[in-house]
Amino acid sequence: MPLIKSSEKISVTFTLNGIKLSKNIYPRTLLSDFLRYSIGETGTHVGCEHGICGACTIIFNGKPIRSCLMLASQVNGHELTTVEGIVKDKNLDDLRAAFKKHHALQCGFCTSGFLITISSYLNENPEYADEKEIRKILSGNVCRCTGYVGIVDAVLEVIKKRNEHKKNA
C-alpha cells in the first residue's frame, strides 16, 4: 500500500444525494467535517465525535453510519445520503408530518440523525409497529429534549398508516 502523506491532498470521487462529486482533501479529514465545511451541507450535525450521540448519522451505501467515525477519504467510489438528500424524498413526507404532529423535535439538533436512522428502518418495511422494537432502533441516537415520546409515536403512526395503505392497495 502506498504511503499517504498527511500534507498532500488526495482526490475522492463519490455520489452525494444523487450527485456525483470529486474533491481534493487532506487524508485525515473527518467525513462529518468534510460534509459540513468542505461541501457546506450543515444539516449533518456533530454532537460528540465519538460515535455515541448519533447526530451525525448519514446513509452510506444504503446503511446508516456515523459520519464522525469515518474519514472523508473512505467515501471514494461510494454513495452518501444526508438529511439534505432525504428532504427531496417525497416518500418521507409522512414521517416529517408525523414528527410535526407528535412534537418529535424541540431544539432540532438531533433531528437530522433521527430522520436518517428512521428512514433507513422504514426502508426495511417493518411488518408491525412494535414499540419495543422501535425504541431499540432509536437507541443509537440521543435526544435530550423530547424524552423520545413524540419520536416513538411518530414512527408508530407512520408504520401503521403505511401498512394500512398497503393492505388497502
Binding site: 450543515t42 444539516g43 450535525h45 465519538h50 444526508t82 438529511v83 428532504v87 404532529k101 412534537h103 429534549c145
Partner: protein
C-alpha cells in the same frame, strides 16, 4: 349579527395543540446553529487547558507550535492583561466573590481551565499545535471533598478569601420546643445528589465577527442569555453596548449549561476586535464535559419531625454544596445550594423550619444553573423523608401527603424558608394522580408481576416550584441583575404583516409558536401570520433571555400587554375607515369588521392607509402601528405537580427500569398542550437520567473520569418509558395571561419519584435509598450491606 355571538365565533388559539412553525427548518436540515456559520478569512481557536486540578503555572513553552504552518499565534495571560477578571457579585452578606482570569495567570483551579489560546487557520492545525505546547506546573494539593474543604483551611483554593466556604447562610422559622414533646417522632438521613453535566447535544460554539468599517462586533453565540452576555461583554471589553450585537441563532438545547458567561465567549469577542478578523471556537464533547457548568453535588443532612397521626411538626436541614472552582457569572455559585435549602420545606404545612447551607469551592469545574435549580435535590430529600415517615407509622404515602399538603384555601402561604406559594392545586394534582386509571394500572401490574426475577415498586413525589419570577425576588439569591421583566415589541409593516420582537431566546421551547398564539388571540389574527424574532440584542435592546421557567410567563405577559396597546391603535384607525365606533369592531383572523355594517378591511388595507396612502386618513391618525411594553409580574407563579413512577429491578443485574410514568401537573393556563407535554416528557427523561444514570466523577487528584458519553450515560429511548401527563389549571388572577412556567418541572419531580419507587421495590430489605443516581454499583453495595444487617 349580535355582538356576543360574534365574539363566540372568534377563534382562540391559546389552548390549541398548534404544530410548531419552527419545525420545517429542522426537518429539512436548514436550521442555522452557530457552528453552521462560516465567514471568509475566519480563524479558529484551540485552547490549551490545564490538565492539573490545582497547580501553579511555572512556564508555558510554545515556540515549536508557532513554527507550524497555519498557526497565527499562541497567546497567554499577558495578551489579555487589559481585560477585567470574571467575578460574580452578590448582595448576600457573608458572600465572597471569586476572581477568574479569562486566561489563567499564575494558578489553575480545575482541569480544563484555559492556560493559552492557539489562533489557527483551522481546527486541525490548531490541534497539531496543541501537541507541541508544554506547560510546566508546580502541583498543589487538590481540593476535592466539600466536607473536608469546608472544615479545613490548610489548602485554600482562593487564598484571598481565607476559607473554602464562599457563603454560609441560615434560615430559622418557628421554635425547637417540639424536641421536648413526648409524642414526637422523626426520620432522618444523610443524602447525596451526585454532580452531573447538563449535556445539550449541541456543544457550545461562539463566532465573533468584527466589522472594520463600523467597529461593530457581532457575536454569534449558542447562549440562553444574549442580553446578559451583551451587557457583560460591554463591561469587560469596555465597548458601548450598541457596538456589540449578541445573536443566539438556533441553539441546540441549553438546560442551564448555556445560561452563564464563559471565558471562551470573552476571548473570541476580544480577539476578533484585536485581530480584526472573524474568530470562531467550537467546543468538542471533551471540552463540554470539562468546562460547561456542571450541577448538583450536594450533601444534605435532614430530619423530619411528625406526630403519631403523621402531621409534620418540623423540618431541619443542613446543606453542603460543592460549587466547583469559581462562583459563576451572573448567578454566583450560591444559586444551587441556597435554593436546595430554600425549597426544602416543599408544598407542605410545616410550622417549624431550621436550615443551614454552606457553599464550598473545590478544584473541580464550576457549577451553574441546571434545569430545576436546587429543587431536584430539595424534592429528592423531602420526598424520601415523607415516605420514610409514612412507612414508620404504617401510613399510605398518599394519605400522609394529603394530610400535610397546604390547602388551596390557605394560599398564599409563606413556607419556613420565606418562599411564598400562591394559587396552585397541590392537593388536586395529588388526588388526580391517585384517581387516575394510570394508578389502577400500576397497582395491577405491581400485584401481577411479582416474580422471582425482579423486584417491583412504585413511588410518588409532590412538589412546588417558583416560576416566572418578577422583580421582587431574585432568580439567584442576592444577584444584582433584575431578571423580573421582559419587553415585547409588536409592529405592523407597510404590507400589513405583524412582527413580534422579544429578548427571550428560544432553544427548543417552541416560543416562536406559543408567543404567536398569544399575540394572535389578543389582536385577532392567525398565529402563522406573525413573525417572532428572539435572541438578538440588536433587535430587542433589553431583556435577559430564557432560563428559570420565565419566558412564557414574563415574555408572554409582555406580549399581551403590548398587543393590547397595538390593538387600540388598530381599532382607532379602523373605526375611522369603517365609519364606526372602536367598540363596534371585531377582528377575526386578520379581517377587521364593523359590527353594525357589513364593511370590513384587512391588515394590508389598514397598513396601506396608515403608511402609504396619504389621502384617506387625517395626519393625526397616521401614527405608526407599533407598540413596545415591558411586563413585570413582581412576584413568582407557583407551579406544582405529583409524579408517579413504576420501576422494576432485575435481581441479577440490579438494573432499574422505569416501566410507567405519570405527571399530574398544574401550570396555569396551557398555551399549547402539545408543547407543554413535550416539555414535561423531556424534563422527566432528564430526571430519569439524574435518578439512574448520570454521574460526573472526579478522582482524588481532581481528574474527570467520566469525560465521554460512554462513561457518562444519558438516557436513550430504551431507558425512557411512555410518559402520561394530566393537567389541572389553577389561575393566578394577578398575572397577565395566567401562565405559569413549567419547563423544569419534569426534572424536579422525577429523581424523587424514582428514588421512592426503588425504595418501595426493596422495602423488604433494611436499606435506605439516600443517594442518586441509583446505579447498579450503588445498589450492589447497598444490598450487600442490607443482607448482612
Amino acid at each position: 349579527m349580535n355582538k356576543d355571538k360574534k365574539i363566540l365565533m372568534r377563534p382562540k388559539y391559546i389552548g390549541k395543540p398548534i404544530e410548531r412553525f419552527e419545525d420545517s427548518k429542522y426537518l429539512s436540515g436548514n436550521a442555522k446553529y452557530t457552528s453552521d456559520i462560516n465567514i471568509d478569512k475566519m480563524l479558529q481557536l484551540v485552547f490549551v487547558r490545564s490538565d492539573e486540578s490545582h497547580a501553579k503555572i511555572k512556564y508555558i513553552e510554545y515556540k515549536e507550535a508557532l513554527k507550524l504552518e497555519g498557526i497565527i499565534d499562541v497567546l497567554t495571560f499577558k495578551d489579555f492583561s487589559e481585560l477585567n477578571q470574571i467575578t460574580s457579585p452578590s448582595r448576600m452578606s457573608n458572600y465572597f466573590a471569586t476572581y477568574q482570569d479569562v486566561v489563567a495567570k499564575n494558578k489553575v483551579r480545575y482541569v480544563g481551565e484555559i492556560i493559552a489560546v492557539i489562533v489557527a487557520k483551522n481546527r486541525y492545525v490548531g490541534e497539531d499545535a496543541l501537541e507541541l505546547i508544554e506547560v510546566d506546573y508546580e502541583s498543589l494539593d487538590p481540593v476535592i471533598d466539600p466536607e473536608e474543604a469546608a472544615s479545613n483551611n490548610k489548602i485554600l483554593l482562593h487564598e484571598n478569601i481565607g476559607s473554602n466556604v464562599i457563603l454560609e447562610r441560615s434560615f430559622s422559622h418557628g421554635t425547637k420546643d417540639y424536641i421536648k414533646s413526648k409524642n414526637i417522632k422523626s426520620v432522618s438521613g444523610k443524602f447525596k445528589l451526585s454532580r452531573k453535566s447538563p449535556i445539550a447535544i449541541e456543544n457550545r460554539c461562539y463566532l465573533s465577527d468584527y466589522d472594520i468599517g463600523s467597529g461593530n462586533i457581532t457575536l454569534y453565540s449558542s447562549t440562553q442569555i444574549p442580553g446578559v452576555i451583551r451587557d457583560a461583554l460591554s463591561k469587560i471589553l469596555g465597548i458601548a453596548g450598541n457596538k456589540i450585537n449578541v445573536k443566539a441563532l438556533d441553539v441546540g438545547g441549553g438546560f442551564g449549561g448555556k445560561g452563564s458567561l464563559y471565558p471562551e465567549e470573552i476571548i473570541v469577542t476580544y480577539l476578533s476586535k484585536k485581530l480584526k478578523k472573524p474568530i470562531k471556537w467550537t467546543s468538542d464533547r471533551l471540552e463540554d464535559f470539562l468546562t460547561t457548568s456542571q450541577a448538583f453535588e450536594e450533601i444534605i443532612e435532614a430530619k423530619l419531625f411528625f406526630d403519631d397521626d403523621g402531621k409534620f411538626i418540623s423540618l431541619e436541614g443542613d446543606v453542603i454544596g460543592n460549587i466547583g472552582a469559581y462562583s459563576i457569572f451572573p448567578w454566583t455559585g450560591a444559586l444551587e445550594p441556597v435554593q436546595v435549602i430554600g425549597f426544602l420545606p416543599g408544598p407542605y404545612d410545616i410550622k417549624n423550619f431550621h436550615g443551614n447551607v454552606k457553599c464550598v469551592v473545590t478544584s473541580k469545574s464550576p457549577t451553574g444553573p441546571y434545569r430545576g435549580v436546587g429543587r431536584p435535590a430539595a424534592v429528592f430529600v423531602l420526598e424520601r423523608l415523607v415516605d420514610m415517615a409514612a412507612k414508620s407509622i404504617s401510613m399510605d404515602p398518599f394519605t400522609i401527603r394529603m394530610k400535610n399538603l397546604i390547602d388551596t384555601k390557605n394560599l398564599p402561604y409563606r413556607i419556613g424558608s420565606g418562599i411564598i406559594w400562591n394559587d396552585a392545586g397541590f392537593k388536586e394534582c395529588l388526588e388526580k394522580s391517585k384517581n387516575s386509571n394510570f394508578f389502577k394500572e400500576i397497582i395491577d401490574i405491581k400485584n401481577k408481576k411479582k416474580c422471582n426475577r425482579t423486584w417491583i415498586g412504585y413511588g410518588i413525589s409532590t412538589y412546588a416550584e417558583l416560576t416566572g419570577i418578577g422583580s421582587k425576588i431574585s432568580v439567584a439569591p442576592g444577584m444584582p441583575i433584575n431578571t423580573g421583566s421582559e419587553t415585547a415589541t409588536i409592529e405592523i409593516d407597510g404590507t400589513g404583516s405583524v412582527s413580534g420582537i422579544f429578548a427571550i431566546a428560544s432553544h427548543g421551547q417552541g416560543l416562536e409558536t406559543t408567543l404567536a398564539q398569544i399575540i394572535a388571540d389578543e389582536i385577532g389574527i392567525k398565529p402563522e401570520d406573525i413573525k417572532i424574532t428572539h435572541g438578538d440584542t440588536s433587535k430587542a435592546k433589553h431583556g435577559t433571555g430564557t432560563y428559570a421557567s420565565r419566558s412564557a410567563v414574563i415574555g408572554g405577559g409582555a406580549a399581551i400587554k403590548t398587543a393590547r396597546v397595538l390593538r387600540k391603535k388598530i381599532l382607532k384607525v379602523a373605526a375611522y375607515l369603517l365609519e364606526t365606533d372602536p367598540n363596534n369592531i371585531e377582528i377575526i383572523d386578520g379581517i377587521i369588521s364593523s359590527l353594525n355594517t357589513n364593511k370590513s378591511i384587512n391588515f394590508s388595507e389598514l397598513a396601506n392607509s396608515v403608511y402609504s396612502d396619504m389621502e384617506t386618513l387625517p395626519v393625526e391618525l397616521r401614527d405608526s402601528l407599533y407598540a413596545k411594553e415591558s411586563y413585570d409580574p413582581i412576584f413568582g407563579a407557583t407551579t406544582t405537580a405529583t409524579h408517579i413512577a413504576l420501576v422494576e429491578i432485575d435481581k441479577q443485574t440490579l438494573k432499574v427500569k422505569v416501566l410507567k410514568y405519570l405527571v399530574s401537573e398544574d401550570c396555569g393556563k396551557v398555551i399549547n398542550p402539545m408543547i407543554v407535554d413535550g416539555q414535561v416528557h423531556g424534563g422527566v427523561a432528564q430526571g430519569i437520567g439524574v435518578a439512574l444514570l448520570e454521574k460526573i466523577n472526579y478522582d482524588n487528584q481532581g481528574q474527570l473520569t467520566t469525560a465521554n458519553l460512554v462513561d457518562y450515560k444519558i438516557p436513550t429511548a430504551s431507558e425512557i418509558p411512555k410518559i402520561d401527563v394530566v393537567h389541572t389549571e389553577h389561575f393566578l388572577p394577578e398575572n397577565l395571561g395566567q401562565f405559569k412556567g413549567m419547563g423544569e418541572g419534569g426534572t424536579i419531580g422525577a429523581p424523587a419519584a424514582i428514588a421512592n419507587a426503588v425504595a418501595d421495590a426493596l422495602s423488604d430489605y433494611n436499606i435506605n435509598i439516600n443517594e442518586l443516581p441509583v446505579n447498579q454499583e450503588y445498589l450492589f453495595q447497598l444490598l450487600k450491606n442490607g443482607e448482612i444487617r
